[in-house]
Symmetry: C2
Subunit: 197 residues, 2 copies
DNA sequence: GTCTATAAGATGATAGAC
DNA sequence: GTCTATCATCTTATAGAC
């Protein structure tokens, strides 16, 4: 995304990142501790500090990896090999995957709830994540309308805001009621709006 | 809402609730402490514990008051004196109010980000809040369609999910980028969808 | 109803041995 | 790279004087 080469990480660091990501997604950044990771992985807190000196370092590293992974997925789609709606469906897949778990939401959606309490590095990541995802969605929507596949009168940027905000909100609300329709309905209705039959 | 009579509270308790509400909305539940309130109000931590023995009590009381206040606003609208769209606009007003502040979001939207880490009492409040607001929105949408003011093909419940999720998501995203269009665009696009000219 | 004082535990973090 | 040991600080919470 930013062109930087990402350093390979050892097994332990990777496991810490995996768990940190899950803990933020399920409980939030301020509600988990190094002790939680220590217990779950069977290593001492000092070992975690060796890999990630401060909690803010860990949080930023989790965000960096998360963004890279999703960005690679977005950049990997070949627009000419799929319909625009299929591209959107591919984009929705991870959200639906989280919705199938009892309590995982988008990493940045969870962090947005405590945004002003986050370390500056992490705030930057969250802001950039939202920006790049909405911009990408706008390009797909624009392309789909240009090809005649989609029909809507608002600007692609505004439609992108609507569906992105709705996806983020849907995951959060879904977690509080366990009803997967919270997100499925949103996708279904959005489809009917941009692809009227 | 639940028919219970709410006890009047003294000045100090009310100030604690006011500040607690603001702190949750701006920083989240796990990121503020009794010390924060103590400092801001110029009282000792023990005094806060006198009014709200545990932090979970305080959180539940904040939620109870917040829900009652918004519920009263919803119950206070006279459907026969306003257009359905004007009723929705009235409903959107507090969201737009928060969006005009630098870092306030919906109380329950903030809490949703750390939902599994919340005390059970608070979880119940958040779940009920989302449920009752979506149900209320559905009735307004149904009424508007029945009267011919609105036009949409999905069920009112699904349309309610879309706009509610989008509002919650919009507030959270808006806080990360400071751009009020994040929520204004959502409302504008939604209006164009349900009220095609 | 507010205070002082204090407790018991968790937190993020560091030093230094192995 | 992981450990033991330790730190200073913050956290929620309580007892008891005023």
């Amino acid at each position: 995304m930013d062109g930087s080469v990402r350093k390979p990480r050892g097994d332990t660091a990777e496991k810490i990142l995996d768990l940190g990501e899950m803990l933020i997604q399920t409980r939030g950044f301020n509600a988990f501790s190094y002790q939680d990771i220590s217990t779950a992985l069977g290593i001492r807190k000092a070992s975690i500090h060796y890999h990630f000196p401060s909690k803010s370092d860990l949080g930023a590293a989790v965000l960096d990896r998360y963004r890279s992974r999703l960005y690679a997925a977005m950049a990997g789609v070949d627009p000419d090999a799929m319909t625009s709606w299929n591209i959107l469906e591919t984009y929705f897949t991870p959200y639906l995957g989280y919705a199938k778990t009892p309590d995982r939401v988008c990493l940045c959606g969870a962090l947005a709830g405590e945004f002003p309490a986050l370390p500056p590095d992490m705030q930057t990541h969250v802001t950039a994540f939202f920006e790049e995802h909405q911009a990408w969605l706008a390009t797909i929507l624009k392309r789909g309308r240009g090809s005649g596949e989609f029909r809507f009168s608002a600007s692609p940027a505004k439609m992108a805001r609507l569906i992105f905000d709705a996806l983020q909100g849907a995951l959060l609300v879904k977690r509080t009621n366990g009803d997967i329709r919270q997100i499925k309905d949103v996708i279904q209705v959005f489809k009917a709006i941009v692809m009227p039959s």
